[in-house]
Every structure is written in C-alpha cells, then in structure tokens.
C-alpha cells in the first residue's frame, strides 16, 4: 500500500471524478454521520492478457473524510468473461485518511478480444461504479513470447510468491519478491520444477531464463546453479534440451537446434547457489525469433 503516493494522485483526479460513491458508515465503528468513505477507481482502463497470469490489478481508493475510523466492504462483480481475485474486499479506513485496495482482474485463456466492465459497490447497497477492462488475446506466432501469461505450474511455491511471478513479463531482479519472481516452497529440497504450457504444440527455437540476479542478490549467491531445461514430447516424456551445471549468471539463453515442436517447457532445478530455494525471475519461450 503506498497510500501517500496515491494521495497525490487523488488530489489530481478528484476534480475529474464523476459518480463517486458516498458511503455513510453502517459499519460498527463509524457512528452515524461521522464516518464518511468515498470510493474512487484509480487504475483507469485495464488491459489484460487472456491468460491465467495475464491479469492486472484494479486499484481502488477509499477515502474517509470523517473523524471516525470505518470498516467498509467493497463488492466486486466482473462481467463475463472477466474474473476477479476477490468478490468482496473489506478493510479498515482510518479517520481523515485513505486506503488503496487492489483486486486482480483477468480473462481466461482463449477469451475473445473486447472491452468489459467490472462493477464495484461500496457496501452491499451502495451505488455501482463501473471500471472498463480491455481483453487482448494471448499472442502467438513468430516473435511472440509463448510463455507470457502462462498457464504455468510449479512443484511448489513459497507463500510470499505467486506461481505467475515467472511469466508476468517482468524480468527485473530489482523487483524480486515485491513485484515479480517465483520461489519454490520447499527449503533445501530438490528437484523443483517450473513448467509453462502453450495449450497446443508450438515450434520453438529460443528459451530465455532469468534467475535471480541483482546487486543485492547476485546470481552467484542466490541464483540457480544446476538445472535442466526440458520440452514435453508427444508421448508425455520430457526431453532435456540443455543441461546446465555450476551456473553463476543471471540470464541464460538456449536455442534448440533443430527447432522442436512441443506443448510445454519446464526448468528442473537441481541445486541453487544458496542451497535453499530455487528462484526464477522470468521464463520466456519464442518461435522464429
């Protein structure tokens, strides 16, 4: 929550906001007429990729102009095919302060392109506000990153991470654990696997793997050390296209030669330089690149 930063945004946007919902506290903490919370959608029109990890956060600001704290419920109803991470978000809003909420909006793989609304209400009977969301079909074909947005799965995922963190388009290790990245959930237990699927066979000729590598967390100390890159064969068997041992680099590129056709690529982590966890910042898979 970077409430302070959002306050500045709010000051700019308030003048232009129409249809701000007013919610006079029915929550227990707010005595009648004292708690007064307004809701504003901050995120503008969202562009989501029609893939399991292609969602974007809907950012909602709740501002309490009253002298009493308030507990409020935001009811979130997506229009099909949109899906939201939450249907209700409840929070405390301090007096004369504001709180920023985020709800992830996504569209299932295969959804058609188009614009749809997410409807928000402050309180069960509050007035509706609509937020527009544009759905873009997942790209495919020459030059496209087939891994972007998943579907992705892992042998396990640490509780502070999301399995999508390695296919979210953010390969920046400086954002590790705050905005992006995948970290397995079983300390000092190997192998760990991270698997991306394409929904059908695709010819691929380039795989790019980013393991954790920043000034604070250099790959030589925190990155993957020993791992195999594998592709799924027609018979359900995994074939190793590259075997890496003793790695200390943050970015590695593999070019299957000849081009292979596969429905899925996975990284099998056998050891990390820290000996505890496997850490992937981004996995990219390309064809005709």
């Amino acid at each position: 929550m970077s409430v302070r930063k959002i306050i500045a945004l709010l000051a700019v946007s308030l003048t232009a906001v129409a249809g701000v919902a007013l919610y006079v506290g029915t929550a227990s903490a707010a005595r009648q007429g004292r708690g007064s919370v307004t809701m504003t959608v901050q995120s503008g029109t969202l562009d989501v990729l029609a893939a399991p990890c292609g969602g974007r956060p809907l950012v909602v600001d709740l501002a309490n102009s009253g002298s009493q704290g308030a507990y409020v419920d935001v009811f979130i109803t997506p229009e099909r095919p949109l899906v939201t991470s939450h249907d209700v978000i409840s929070t405390y809003v301090p007096p004369n302060d504001n709180v920023v909420l985020r709800a992830q909006v996504s569209a299932p793989l295969g959804s058609a392109g188009g614009t749809h609304d997410v409807s928000l209400r402050l309180g069960p009977r509050g007035p509706r506000q609509e937020a527009a969301v544009t759905v873009t079909p997942k790209p495919s074909g020459p030059g496209a990153n087939l891994a972007l947005g998943g579907p992705v799965s892992a042998s396990s995922t640490h509780g502070n991470f999301h399995v999508c963190g390695g296919v979210d388009g953010n390969a920046n290790s400086d954002d590790w654990s705050t905005r992006t990245g995948w970290n397995d959930g079983t300390r000092a237990v190997f192998p760990d696997t991270y698997t991306v699927a394409f929904g059908g066979p695709q010819p691929i000729d380039r795989i790019v793997l980013y393991t954790l590598d920043s000034v604070r967390y250099p790959a030589a100390r925190n990155g993957l050390r020993d791992f195999d890159v594998q592709v799924l064969g027609n018979g359900g068997e995994w074939t190793t296209v590259s075997r890496v041992r003793g790695n200390t680099k943050g970015r590695l590129e593999f070019s299957p030669d000849p081009v292979v056709s596969t429905t899925s690529v996975r990284v099998v982590a056998l050891a990390s330089n820290s000996g505890d966890y496997s850490r992937i910042v981004e996995l990219e898979v390309y064809q005709d690149s």
Binding site: M1, S2, V3, R4, T26, A27, S28, A29, R31, Q32, G69, Y71, D73, S85, H86, D87, V88, I89, S90, T91, Y92, V93, P94, D97, V99, L101, P124, R125, A154, S155, S156, T157, H158, G159, N160, F161, H162, V163, S177, G185, R187, A188, G275, D276
Partner: protein
C-alpha cells in the same frame, strides 16, 4: 498510540460491556451487542442455510469463576466471502447445561450474529458456578451446533488440589496436519493456553503441506485486508482436529506476530511506513477478535488491549502478555546479531511501560501459589554461538535485555511465589532454568521456563538438530531440546508443577501417534527444573542445519 489500557478481564466498566449480564437460574436473557442505529441492517431469522452454518466449530474462553465466553461464527460456505452469509443480522440461540444431553440447562439466551463482525457470536455467560464443568451449544434456524465442554475457574478463595492445562502455539496450516490437536482434544484438561501464531499471513499454496485440500486462488497471496484475514481464519478453523481441541476446554489466547505479519514491532514493519501499516494491523486485530473466544470489546482501529490476568483460586494465576503491540522496533535491524549495542538500550521495551507496570503490580499482589507468564518469546537467553562471543536473536527477549532485566529483577524484588514462564514462537521445545544473570553460572535460578513447540509450523522436524546441539552446548541453563511438533500438558498441585512435552513424530502425513518425550517437575519454593524423566526418541533422530527450518533469527530477510 495513547490508548487507555483495560486492566483485568472482569473488572472493566459494565456500562461498556457488549453483553448484558443477568442472574437467576433459567432466566431467558438477551446477549445483544450495543444497539446502534443501523437502519439498513435488519435482523432476520434464517431457517434454512445453504449448508451447515457451524462449519467453523465452536469455542469457549476467558473463564472466570462465574463466567465463560462462548464463541461461534455462522459460515455455511466457509471459504466464500462473508462465509456465504447475506449482509443482515441473524439471531443465534445458545444454551449452557450441566450435562452433555442438556437436561439441566442453567442458562440460555439469544445472541445476534452481525455482518460487521463476519457473523461471529461472542456470548459472555454470567451467573455460573465456580470450578464447574458445563456444556454449551448454539442454534440458528433449524441448525444445532456441535456441543462444547467448558469449565469455570475455581472461586478466588478456593484452594484447588489440582489443575491441568494444555499449551499450544504456531499452527501454520500449510506445514502439516493438526495431529497434535487431535491428541490434545483427547486429554482431560481444565484449560488450553494458546501462545500465538494461530494464523500465518503467508499465502497458502495448493501444492503446499496439505495436497488433499485445494484452496481457492484468493488464498495464494498474503493477508492484507480484513476480508483476507477473515478468509484465512475460516480456512484454519475448518480443521476438525482444531475444532475438537476448542470444543474440549476453554482457551486463553494471545497473539504473536503472524496474526498480523512476521516480526512486526508495534507499528514498525519493513513492508510499509507506520501510517500505512496501521491499516493492516487494524484489519488483523479485528479479524482476530472476531474469531477468538475473547471477552474484550471489539477493537476499533489499530489498537486492541489483549493482555489480561486470570486467577484459578489460590493455586495459580496467569498473566497473559502481548509482546508485539507495544514493543520497540527490533535492535540492529533484527535477525541474529553479535555485539549489538542497541539491544542494551534501557529506553527500549518489549512490553511497553503500561503493560510492564501492570504485570509487576499484578505479580506483587498475587495470592497464587504458582504465577505464570503466558507469553510468546523465549525469555531465557539463547546464545546461538558455541564459540567465544555471543550471538542473539533480536526478536527474542535477548534483543530487549534491559526490559528482561527489569522483569526478572522485579520478580526477585517482589518475592513472587513460584514464577513459571511459558513461551512459544520458536517451533522447538526447550526447558530452561531462568537465571537472574544468564552469563554468570553462579547466579540464582529465579524461575522456570517451558518453551513449547509448534502444532505444525516447521513441518516434521527431528528429535535433535544442529541448532539444538548448539543451544545445549552454548547455554548451560537450557536443559532439554526437541525439534519436533506437539503440545505441552501441565498438572499443577500446591506442592508440585509437572510438565510434559507431548510430541508427534510427524505432521506431513496424517495419523501420527503422540508420546511424552520428556517430563519435568518443579517443586514449590524451589525454582528450576528439579527432576526429569525422558523417553526414547521417535521419528527423525537428527537433522543438520541445512535440512531443518532454521530458528527465526536465521530465516533471512523480513517480508
């Protein structure tokens, strides 16, 4: 923060009470909350629910000689938002009887499950008789809850001949099954004390410790909002072994850090500046109150008074502490530190001034034979370094040495009768002689500490591990170590305090047996571990440091 602290559980101004006390056997009385004008929120009887509304079980807690708090929450769809309830009030009937068949009902009434409290119900049942076993249940519509057993405290002047209680902490759902609770529920106890980490803020991954229980995607991220914490409590409370343990006896609960977020200190946490962090703390405290059998009023905002005192006749008195809400930020950036000067700064505090004064004042006035500090962190010094030079965990009492010295010296100065320290947090069992000066082997033992292991946090563990070997080697006052999961039981008489370390050899699979790994006795008037018996180890015998979940200060960067 500047908030008035409510002292003691039963002595607060009755005008502020949420519940109406009443007297007269068989009287029908209402246990409504304050009837604030909320015109948009109606009370509606619901006769049919989509599913069992008592899916999260029942509980009782905060026992007094004449009173106990009953708890439940209506959640016909426990993992759905708002538990699958519509946003209006629902009446919930309750009964307390002397027998499990409810032939001798002594109290009954109707409470209101309110949407703003996630349809949780807290009933402070008054007019009960001291030192008695009771049975309770709830009813809403056509649905009747399971029956719980509870027990009132003995009369203040009574000299109870024996008292038994259990002690638990640290129940990361994703680390393993609550087998320990299943066994605890079969013990015959007067009370269960929970020392915190009832809930973990971390995301629950479907491929984590309980692969047979898939969870919706909203559980994959850490808890931030009130709705996140509510949903997480629902997930944890769905566990039948946890429910059985709640139904067996009244609980005294306190929190540690994970009910909000790992290693927060007052309003300090690296995730957010204090003015933002207070929102998360307010959300977490509110959800904690909603889901625990607490007598205290519902919190409004980021503060909630939780420390309180319970007296069980002349035999024992519990001072239940809160070592999170008022503490100074961890010294020297937290973690494991050597030569940290800041930990010696006397202006820093673990309890906060008000709680510290309340604690010492209470210990001075206590009439009890055994005086128990029910709190979170290992109080005794834990030197992690077997070589010369000392390394201490900055989140533990070691990181607040003058605060601990004030407490220990205060206990000596007040000649407190038989001080006993209970602690959790550490995911391992230890027993220790509490020394007035831990660096001086000739220093007197002034109290006895029992560190209880986790119910599930830390996964299976092993009887001994590399850390345990180091702790025993570097700390002469630590007399026992076990690195597995479990709980403790205590059998207290005027002459002797008996403690048992009840251990389950594994939690990653269901159905582990329980066994007593070690027992210790403390004799009246002789602080320290006076006798012990041990059984053979079971499960994993030993884990090296790289194989075991490291103790807190070695876990790396805070989130």
């Amino acid at each position: 923060m500047g908030r008035n602290v409510e002292i003691g559980p039963a002595l607060s101004d009755p005008g502020r009470r949420r519940f109406l006390g009443y007297s007269g056997i068989g009287a029908l009385a209402l246990a409504f909350g304050p009837l604030q004008a909320e015109p948009s929120t109606l009370t509606r009887e619901v006769s049919r629910f989509k599913d069992n509304p008592f899916s999260l079980g029942i509980a009782s807690g905060d026992p007094l000689p004449d009173s106990v708090v009953l708890w439940t929450r209506l959640a016909p769809e426990p993992l759905a938002s708002l538990g699958g309830m519509e946003p209006h009030r629902v009446p919930v009937g309750w009964q307390v009887a002397e027998d499990a068949r409810f032939r001798r009902v002594v109290r009954q009434g109707t409470a209101t499950a309110r949407p703003e409290y996630a349809h949780s119900v807290h009933v402070d049942v008054r007019g009960l008789r001291p030192g008695r076993e009771y049975f309770y249940r709830f009813k809403t519509g056509n649905e009747i809850s399971p029956t719980g057993r509870t027990k009132t405290a003995p009369a203040p002047w009574a000299t109870a001949s024996a008292f038994t209680f259990g002690m638990v902490s640290c129940q990361a759902w994703f680390d393993g099954y609550y087998t320990a609770y299943g066994h605890l529920a079969k013990e015959d106890l007067d009370l269960v004390v929970h020392l915190g980490d009832y809930l973990y803020e971390y995301g629950v991954q479907t491929n984590g410790g309980r692969p047979d229980t898939p969870v919706p995607g909203k559980f994959h991220t850490p808890t931030i909002h009130l709705s996140d914490y509510r949903d997480r409590y629902a997930l944890y409370k769905l566990d039948p072994e946890l429910q059985a343990a709640h139904a067996m006896a009244p609980w005294l609960v306190t929190w540690d850090d994970h009910e909000v977020v790992d290693n927060y200190a007052d309003l300090a946490h690296p995730s957010a500046p204090p003015e933002d962090f207070l929102v998360r703390r307010a959300n977490a405290y509110r959800a904690y109150w909603e889901h625990m059998p607490l007598r205290t009023l519902e919190p409004t905002g980021q503060n909630m008074s939780l420390y309180r005192r319970f007296t069980f006749g002349r035999l024992l008195e519990f001072s239940v502490l809160d070592t999170r809400q008022y503490r100074s930020d961890q010294a020297c950036g937290d973690g494991l530190k050597t030569d940290c000067e800041q930990r010696l700064d006397p202006s820093r505090t673990l309890l906060g001034d008000a709680q510290e004064a309340w604690l010492l004042g209470g210990l001075e006035r206590s009439q009890a034979k055994w005086n128990v500090l029910a709190q979170q962190m290992m109080l005794s010094q834990v030197d992690f370094n077997t070589n010369p030079g000392q390394a201490f965990g900055m989140d533990l009492w070691d990181g607040y040495k003058p605060s601990r010295d004030r407490l220990l010296n205060g206990i000596v100065e007040r000649k407190v009768s038989n001080p006993i320290v209970l602690s959790g947090d550490f995911h391992r069992s230890m027993a220790a002689n509490v020394k007035q000066d831990f660096d001086d082997p000739a220093s007197p033992t002034i109290a006895t500490e029992f560190l209880g292991s986790s119910v599930s946090s830390g996964m299976d563990g092993a009887d001994m591990d590399e850390f345990g070997s180091q702790f025993l080697a570097a700390n002469d006052h630590i007399r026992f170590y076990n690195g597995q999961r479990g709980y403790m039981t205590f059998n207290v008489t005027p002459d002797t305090w008996n403690a048992s370390y009840r251990v389950v050899p594994y939690v990653r699979e269901r159905g582990a047996p329980v066994f007593t790994r070690a027992s210790f006795a403390v004799e009246d008037g002789k602080p320290g571990l006076q006798a012990d018996s041990k059984s053979a180890a079971r499960g994993r015998k030993y884990l090296s440091a790289s194989e075991v979940e490291p103790p807190e200060p070695l876990k790396g960067n805070r989130k």
